[in-house]
């Protein structure tokens, strides 16, 4: 495989590129979905190809081919250079790549049970059928369960001499129950609305124990139909760690992407409210706010060995004691703010251009706990499990909905509330955070569906998070 990638790089250089790299990828993927005891969808996919980047002057070109032959690899390299030349028709300022060590390495994620090789298809199906059956038995009309598995092998070669092969295994699962009322629906999901995913094997799916949680999920969905609406008010808000993961993803993770900050995503995903001139001095939130982007966390979904520019995975401080100190960057963006690459550039396949991506962007634990937060709250609302998410193109103004909430009265959970939502402005919201859960409640949530780029790419990101409490938050917006 290295031979094909090398041939592609050499062809791009021969065609005039001053830098080139090639990524050969072979991905095995499976998704299975069951509803009401029936497996409705089973899709297995094998995707292979080579993607080549060529840099001519300050202009990039990218070409991919699904054909794994020397001739096709060379052709892709030549055409990548031709695409780069066309880019020069609307060229930008000089571009220098951040220096990166030349690496020859092999890396593999760790797993106990490979879901495609060590667990039978029947067992995988039985789990989903069983979980939907348990939810249906508990009385919901719609019970769904699904899993996804990715087995990814990559071979990377750069014109600077790097040669890296990696093998990543990622998987996860989710169940959800929908209760249908008169004029509205209510859904509960577990472990979260997007499930739980990690760079791990099937042991992750066993640990989350879908069957044991299925009846509770179904009961809560039905109870929500009878629950009163979340009131429209301004109050103390406690968020569970799953919703915190979404909060971190949307209002920190995307905002700190350097390509967005530099305007490279302006027309689609948007930009960022952050100004690089304030890097190192801007208050992002309260003193309790410590955020890292750590691609080295074992088993987290945003972990890997090397990014798609051949830069080693790193742990980078993003917010330290409430001050913004770091960004997500790659080799062509980092020098523009005087930094080295954070090793955060990835593509979702060989046919797509690598771009700045979140790794494991997460909130470091504090010294409190969910129980302490509830006990310390006289009047507030506890919400968990994301239901809807919308945020402006600068990642500043957000409105998020959760599946479920409870009143908090005099330090105790009160009645369940349906259709909870809350809204806020990023830095004001984070500045109001006054309690943060401790290490025992730290969960590495995985999001397997982060959309970004044109053509759209679906990224896998991790979000270590804990429950947290926020003051004076507007809730119940409808």
């Amino acid at each position: 495989m290295f031979d094909l990638a090398t041939a592609a790089v050499e062809a791009a250089l021969a065609a005039g590129a001053r830098y080139a790299d090639a990524r050969l990828m072979v991905v095995r993927y499976e998704s299975m979905a069951a509803k009401n005891r029936v497996v409705e969808d089973l899709t297995q996919t094998e995707t292979a190809g080579i993607g080549v980047r060529a840099l001519i002057g300050s202009s990039w070109g990218f070409q991919s081919t699904p054909e794994l032959t020397l001739a096709a690899a060379r052709g892709a390299g030549q055409r990548a250079a031709a695409v780069a030349r066309a880019s020069a028709r609307v060229a930008g300022p000089d571009l220098e790549l951040a220096p990166a060590p030349v690496v020859e390495a092999s890396w593999q994620s760790t797993w106990v049970e490979h879901p495609l090789d060590d667990v039978s298809l029947t067992e995988r199906a039985d789990l989903l059928v069983g979980a939907t059956g348990a939810m249906a038995d508990a009385g919901v009309p719609l019970a769904q369960a699904s899993h996804q598995i990715w087995d990814t092998e990559k071979w990377f070669v750069s014109s600077e001499g790097s040669r890296i092969d990696q093998h990543l295994l990622e998987c996860g699962a989710v169940i959800d129950a929908t209760a249908i009322g008169d004029g509205e629906t209510q859904r509960r999901s577990y472990p979260g609305v997007r499930g739980q995913f990690g760079t791990r094997g099937w042991e992750l799916v066993r640990e989350i124990d879908l069957l044991a949680n299925a009846p509770r999920v179904a009961e809560e969905a039905q109870a929500l139909l009878r629950a009163p609406q979340c009131p429209e008010t301004t109050t103390t808000l406690i968020l569970g760690s799953e919703q915190m993961a979404l909060q971190i993803h949307e209002s920190i993770g995307h905002a700190i992407e350097l390509d967005r900050i530099l305007g490279w995503e302006a027309a689609f995903a948007g930009t960022s409210w952050l100004d690089p001139a304030q890097l190192g001095s801007l208050r992002y939130g309260s003193d309790l706010m410590n955020v890292t982007a750590d691609a080295t966390l074992p088993g987290a979904l945003g972990s890997f060995g090397y990014d798609d520019e051949g830069v080693a995975a790193q742990a980078v401080d993003i917010v330290k004691d409430g001050t913004w100190v770091g960004v997500l960057s790659g080799r062509d963006s980092a020098p523009l703010v005087g930094r080295t690459s954070g090793g955060m550039v990835r593509a979702d396949g060989a046919a797509r251009l690598p771009m700045v991506r979140m790794t494991n962007v997460g909130l470091l634990p504090g010294d409190s706990s969910l129980a302490e937060m509830i006990a310390a709250t006289e009047d507030g609302i506890y919400m968990d499990t994301n239901r809807s998410w919308s945020i402006d193109d600068k990642r500043l103004n957000f409105q998020f909905g959760c599946e479920i909430a409870w009143e908090v009265n005099d330090g105790q959970l009160g009645q369940m509330l349906r259709n909870p939502t809350y809204t806020g402005i990023g830095p004001q919201f984070w500045a109001s955070m006054d309690m943060v859960g401790g290490p025992d409640e730290w969960v590495f949530w995985g999001t397997a569906n982060c959309g970004k780029g044109q053509p759209m790419q679906v990224g896998h990101t991790g979000h270590p998070s804990v429950p947290a409490r926020f003051r004076d938050v507007r809730v119940g917006v409808r």
């Binding site: 066309a86 509205e184 302006a266 027309a267 402006d392």
Partner: protein, 456 residues
């Protein structure tokens, strides 16, 4: 000259791959196999320069097999060498054998007659990176004092479908898109954006200079926006905003499976929308981009969803159609778990120009674009999102001032409900949304709920 599939070498190659797959299956299963071949290229620009520029050759083979009495599995590969196809067949048969039979499996489609559809342009299929870069250069130059960002893309694909039930179809399609913004700096406050977009079968239909000028004019007009109190306002939604909203009824409402499961808002036969609203799906329309058959090989035809405001149709795949006791509508996207989707959606155009629509508004808002739209409940169709790329106050029938972006939280079906549609534009066009491409006009609506500022 009409396309002759049998004389197209890409069809011959795709047919060869499909036939090889069917041969490898032998008599072991019923099967439907498709082979898609093509190119996809997208030239992306930001800060008024091309910063990402990609092209990919695409090839995939998708196989769906049925063994026994309805044990179904499907698999996809990009590897068309003998080893790759053998793995595809073996894996798919093994997966199907392990699945329980689906008692509602409707069987594979029988051959039918296809409408003559050929959404194709040779020049677009052959477009090189220089052709796309020229469109970008024209777009950027239209606002030389502004900052431009966006993309120009061209896609070309040839598709072949074969099945053990005798289906033998081929189709091809091209699509070109330009979608960009210009950004104007403001003397005080943040910069403001304006957008211009075009979608067509032909790249030649997309004039980068004209679309860039539209975006530049909007951006310049948007500087120094005023703050407006949240509340309900009469609105004129331009096609891009209409396209964004229609995703939700199309995806979760007219999906027959969602309807059968009770999560759809649709009540067939009821006047749920304004009497001026006609909605239909039609891949066979010259203005559309879709194939003449769906993922299951069911021929596509016009499917009325809403006629004069009355809900009259649902998008079925074969399984949901069997359960409902009706004919499939050619709406399968290849996932029985999802159900049917109207992939070539039309909203009937009216007679009024956009200026006429604005002229009728005493006080309201002109909305260019809606962004980050998320549905809160499929049954009520309450959606939240934000305005973007141009929001303007209308006073006394004229656009008077730019307005700072706002967040909305609004039921789509209520906004389009009986008596709420005050006018429909004559400017219907192909517009992309998150579900694909729809053909929609501007709409004047009596009330639209804005629930907060976008920046706070």
């Amino acid at each position: 000259m009409a396309w002759q599939p049998e004389a197209d070498p890409l069809v011959a190659a795709g047919s060869g791959v499909c036939d090889e797959v069917l041969q490898r299956i032998g008599g072991r299963a019923q099967a439907l196999v498709t082979c898609g071949t093509g190119t996809s290229a997208l030239t992306r620009f930001a800060n008024s320069r091309i910063h990402q520029n990609m092209a990919s050759d695409e090839q995939h083979v998708r196989l769906r097999v049925v063994v026994g009495a309805g044990q179904v599995a499907q698999a996809t590969t990009t590897r068309v060498d003998p080893d790759g196809l053998e793995r595809l067949v073996k894996g798919c048969l093994a997966a199907a054998a392990l699945r329980p039979a689906d008692p509602e499996f409707p069987g594979l489609a029988d051959p039918g007659s296809l409408a003559e559809v050929d959404h194709w342009d040779d020049v677009t299929a052959a477009a090189d990176p220089d052709a796309r870069a020229q469109v970008v250069a024209d777009f950027v130059a239209a606002g030389a004092d502004l900052e431009a960002a966006g993309y120009c893309s061209t896609d070309a694909g040839t598709h072949v479908l074969r099945s053990t039930s005798g289906l033998a179809y081929a189709s091809r399609a091209t699509m070109a898109q330009v979608d960009g913004i210009h950004r104007a700096a403001a003397p005080s406050g943040p910069p403001t954006d304006g957008c211009g977009q075009g979608t067509s079968v032909r790249l030649a239909d997309l004039n980068g200079a004209r679309l860039g000028a539209v975006a530049a004019a909007k951006a310049r007009a948007g500087t120094e926006p005023v703050n407006l109190e949240p509340g309900s306002y009469e609105v004129v939604l331009e096609p891009r905003a209409v396209a964004a909203l229609l995703l939700f009824p199309a995806w979760l409402g007219f999906n027959a499976k969602a309807h059968a499961e009770g999560t759809s808002f649709v009540h067939l036969g009821e006047q749920q929308l304004d009497e001026q609203i006609d909605l239909w799906d039609d891949a066979t329309d010259q203005r559309a981009l879709g194939r003449p058959y769906d993922a299951e090989g069911t021929p596509k035809r016009r499917l009325d969803l809403v006629r004069a405001g009355v809900s009259v149709g649902l998008a079925h795949d074969r399984r949901s159609a069997r359960l409902a006791g009706v004919e499939p509508t050619g709406s399968s996207i290849g996932s029985e778990a999802f159900g049917g989707y109207p992939a070539d959606l039309f909203l009937g155009a009216g007679q009024q120009s956009r200026d006429d629509l604005v002229a009728g508004v005493e006080r309201g808002l002109l909305v260019s674009d809606l962004w980050y739209n998320r549905i809160l409940d499929p049954k009520t169709q309450v959606v939240t999102g934000l305005t973007r790329n141009g929001l303007f106050l209308i006073e006394g029938g004229e656009v008077t001032r730019p307005v700072q972006d706002l967040r909305y939280t609004q039921s789509v079906i209520a906004a389009l409900g009986p008596g709420h549609v005050l006018g429909i534009g004559d400017d219907a066009a192909l517009v992309a949304n998150e579900g694909g491409v729809v053909h929609v006009p501007s709409l004047r609506l009596a009330s639209f709920a804005f629930t907060g500022g976008a920046r706070g």
